[in-house]
Point group: C2
Chain length 245, copies 2
């Protein structure tokens, strides 16, 4: 077998998983300086609000991109499993589900629920990044769209750290308002494992595997950029306030 042929062989499962994990670990937004400040208790109430309001737009894209993923599968068993993610965020009624829990968090940090729900004040860059996530899922083959969800593998640790940090540093938010983060710890673990198993089983060629890694990298860029935009907006606001003093 010549060298170019060897290059086209699919990676063995362990190597493929190791590559996905390495990209995720290296690029996940848990290392973003803004999150470091959040977890060190250094954010102002205003900064927490800006993050909460903008991140809500990301939350609203999740059931939409997951319904797109459902629509891409020819397998009722896959659809039955994946549709649970839409329910996780939309809930069984107006007061249940991830979106409702996030709006409760928004109220607890002092935001107006209706204004957050309207997404009127979402930063343009946040909108671009989150819309890019929906576009990626809409335009990619099923397995690649699923691969973009694999940041879930790194979410449980971040959520656990976040719960502890908020309880310690921002007690005024109230422990009950952290219900969304709490709900995500077991669900993100389950979702990450299921997604990884599907991607490993379904990406059976090197080009597909490479597209999966690229989708995960792009997803980490989307998450990172969201926090970048929030950080920039907070910095601009702080500078403006100082200039006005």
């Amino acid at each position: 077998m010549s060298a170019p042929d060897r290059e086209l062989l699919p990676w063995p499962a362990e190597e493929f998983v190791a590559r996905l994990r390495a990209e995720g670990v290296q690029r996940y937004h848990d290392q973003h300086p803004f999150h470091a400040r959040m977890h060190a208790g250094a954010l102002s109430r205003r900064e927490l609000q800006t993050w909460t309001l903008n991140r809500y737009y990301y939350q609203t894209r999740i059931p939409i991109k997951d319904a797109l993923i459902v629509s891409k599968s020819e397998d009722p068993a896959f659809r039955r499993a994946w549709i649970r993610r839409v329910h996780d965020h939309d809930g069984d009624g107006p007061d249940s589900g991830g979106l409702a829990l996030w709006l409760r968090l928004a109220e607890a940090v002092g935001l107006d629920r209706q204004e957050v729900a309207s997404c009127r004040r979402v930063l343009p860059g946040v909108r671009f990044a989150c819309d890019a996530y929906v576009t990626l899922c809409r335009e990619s083959p099923l397995v690649v769209a699923v691969a973009s969800s694999l940041t879930e593998m790194f979410a449980p640790d971040l959520m656990s750290k976040r719960i502890a940090a908020w309880e310690q540093h921002y007690p005024w938010v109230g422990a009950e308002a952290l219900a969304y983060f709490r709900s995500r710890v077991p669900r993100a673990r389950r979702d990450g494992e299921e997604g990884l198993a599907f991607v490993v089983a379904s990406a059976t060629s090197r080009p597909l595997q490479e597209l999966c890694v690229a989708a995960l990298v792009k997803k980490t860029e989307i998450l990172w950029h969201l926090v970048d935009c929030v950080q920039m907006a907070c910095a601009a606001e702080t500078a403006a306030a100082k200039a006005a003093e």
Copy 2:
């Protein structure tokens, strides 16, 4: 107000509904000659098989186009209501839901379940028509995609007639195998009413209303063409058998 301006006013709700109903009544595939023969007991076992096998491909497109419709809505309440349609067809497990019931019907008419499920023998024209339905839902605004589902308004009568006709004329199929048709009577009524209410409330301009009527017309063409293709294939097979005698 000048005449051109008047033309651009949206139709009042009653007129809009009347136009949708008129197109549906006039074009619905209950009047297709093949269905007339089916309900008169004139189809052979082989013809029932050809219809059942090909119509299964249409059934498989339903949860896919409904997941696309879910993905188009920004409203969790709408998504919660519409996602029920995906569950209706995919079920809670491999033996429940509309697709599983259809495969039971396929076995009852003497087809191999796996072959039907594989969709290998689906006629090209049936595939084109059913794929056009998914494309219509993928590329249309939400309300227009919903309007394409309004053939449901005419389904309960057709299903009731079909159950009676099959029990009378094709008793060898077995009454239990007609469970899919039975399940659709109340569900199609509910789905048709909900869809109509949404379309009337959401198509608030004349151009949107016209797109909704056009989508319903196209959907009737899709359903009609499916039966046309089945009829042509059956006729060709009958002619070939006669020539070989």
